[in-house]
Amino acid sequence: MSLIRYVIRRILVTIPVLWLITVLGFALTYLIPADPLAMVISERAMANPEIVQAYRERWGFDKPPLLRYLTYVRNLLRGDLGESIATQRPVKEDLARFFPATVELAVAATLIAILLGIPLGVIAALQRDRWPDHIARFLSLIGVSMPIFWLGLLALSIFYYRLQILPGPGRLDPRLVPPPTVTGLMTVDSLLTGRWDAFWDALRHLVLPASVLGAYSMGLITRITRSSMVEVLAQEYIRVARAKGLREWIVIGRHALRNAAIPTVTAVGLAFGNLMAGAVMTETVFAWPGIGRYAVDAASKLDFPPVMGVTLLVAGIYILINFLVDLSYTWLDPRIRLQ
């Protein structure tokens, strides 16, 4: 099947899922027993029926649910994600402001997880049932069992408060002038504008939250790399490669790792999807101004338009990554065809 047809088919399959997400999200906002208005306007204003009525009309709460849903979907199709009830700011603008911070964090975390997880998994598989393997298995199990919010506080208390070798919460030292926004990624922007001081500081701010967020993914990637390497290393072609007298690193790098790559790439893709969600905790602990913290703030105020906005964005990314992972299979293993 040609690539274009495959892409079109995948997009068509995605539409009902995205539609169901809007239905579920809307049902959630409609079925809640609590009144979001009570969170926004004061108690005295709540007692005044005219103000309440004005607010209801302003947010369309007086319309029947089906009509509200249709309006919501119509706006969505026009790219309008609605307004936050609490701040009255357009959700789209908020997302544009907060999203790059989350991307920067998630990409850094994934890099750390890949750079540590894959070598650890390979070493564990090569040294199977010996102590490096036990250590790798133990580390990966700890990684997936770690309460992220606690690890974050622990990291802050050790490296920031006690040792004072890394900066605390936030993306940049408040005494520094932030670099002009180009991409929204603090490290990239400061590099592009030649602000080395800001680059160094932003990088140092990134170390702790990215390591904390990457711990879970690292555990996942180590486990899957290990088990797929163990499987591949038992194959005949590995024995043949060794029998041919190939150097061990060529056997491992070219023959084994390449064939073990599919489960690993799947794990990386899954892990990245999880990261976008796991960022919620990390961003809360590190006061990182990303979409996770934005969603937590909104959810606790029953302010649903931002929550739905974040959800749709993350769901979209999740679907996109799954798609890219599937596409990469044909490149990793030419025997696999798109269908």
Binding site: P147, L154, M281
Partner: protein, 297 residues
């Protein structure tokens, strides 16, 4: 005579999947992860059961004169900002987190397995509906969805549990559906159908017992997940309500207290060890229950 012998030897569903008892014990000795997991969980189960006997203080009693005292012989894990004994609170916390983890997973597995079995067995439109619904729930970021549901229902542990069930069930539905589709094509199911077994009987006696081990492994790994999610919800203030000695809420109380490290460290370690316990158990169970994966160990 012969049929009698078969009837007596027929293993119960659990025994059937665990293999012969003796073989299982041998595996237990061979799988250190399973052993460590069982040990950690039993320790925490004991702590939960015996908390009123071993805890030196009440988990909620405030002694303001002794607030923020570091670990000592009197207060093993120190005291928090209200002078409550952290050791006692951590012990009592097990009475909250363990039932939450087990209860949530039991409910989730039941709901998800039932829907997955229906989807796989009935097929057609019903299958399509259930599975697309699963896709939609899975596409939601789980923690954000759980937060939104808990916030909407009102903060509290019961609502947090309900939210976690609603977020986690689709994975079981998918797993169970896959199992049903795989198992129903096997020869022994065809054989059962050929001798006139009803569909219900096939589902109950032939498919469910064989899918049990896969679900069990997933469930044991998920108890840890559920405990983590509940703790995270409490951490952001949507789960346990003060003064409940819930571990996530205790870590949250330590957020601004970097100097008094003991307040947050011990409840965090409690979460970590319990979750490690269930993950080791799940990992070990998978090694023992799935002979196909055994060579990968």
């Amino acid at each position: 005579m012969r049929s009698l012998v078969i009837a007596r030897n027929r293993p119960s569903p659990i025994e059937a999947v665990l293999g012969q008892r003796r073989g299982w014990l041998r595996d237990l000795r061979r799988s250190p992860t399973l052993l460590i997991g069982l040990l950690l969980i039993s320790l925490w189960a004991m702590a939960a059961l015996l908390a009123p006997l071993i805890a030196p203080y009440s988990p909620v009693e405030q002694r303001l004169s002794e607030r923020l005292s570091p670990p000592s012989a009197k207060h093993l894990f120190g005291t928090d900002e209200l002078g409550r004994d952290v050791f006692s609170r951590v012990l009592y916390g097990a009475r909250i987190s363990l039932p939450i983890g087990l209860g949530v997973v039991a409910l989730t597995a039941l709901l998800g397995t039932a829907l997955g079995a229906v989807a796989g067995f009935v097929g057609g439109l019903v299958d399509e509906l259930i599975m697309r619904f699963c896709d939609a729930v899975l596409a939601f970021p789980s923690l954000i969805l759980a937060m939104a549901i808990t916030a909407a229902l009102g903060p509290g542990l019961n609502n947090a549990m309900l939210a976690i069930v609603l977020v986690l069930w689709p994975e079981y539905a998918r797993l169970m559906r896959g199992q049903v589709l795989y198992l129903r094509e096997l020869e022994y199911v065809t054989a059962a159908r050929a001798i006139g077994a009803t569909e219900m009987r096939i589902l109950w006696r032939h498919i469910l017992p064989n899918a049990f081990s896969v679900i069990l492994v997933k469930a044991s790994l998920d108890v840890g997940n559920a405990i983590l999610l509940a703790a995270a919800l409490s951490f952001v203030g949507l789960g346990a309500v003060p003064p409940t000695p819930e571990w996530g809420a205790m870590v949250a109380a330590a957020r601004q207290k970097f100097f008094e490290w003991w307040i947050g460290t011990f409840p965090g370690l409690a979460i970590l060890t319990v979750v490690v316990g269930f993950n080791f158990l799940g990992d070990g169970l998978r090694d023992v229950l799935d002979p196909r994966l055994r060579h990968l160990r």
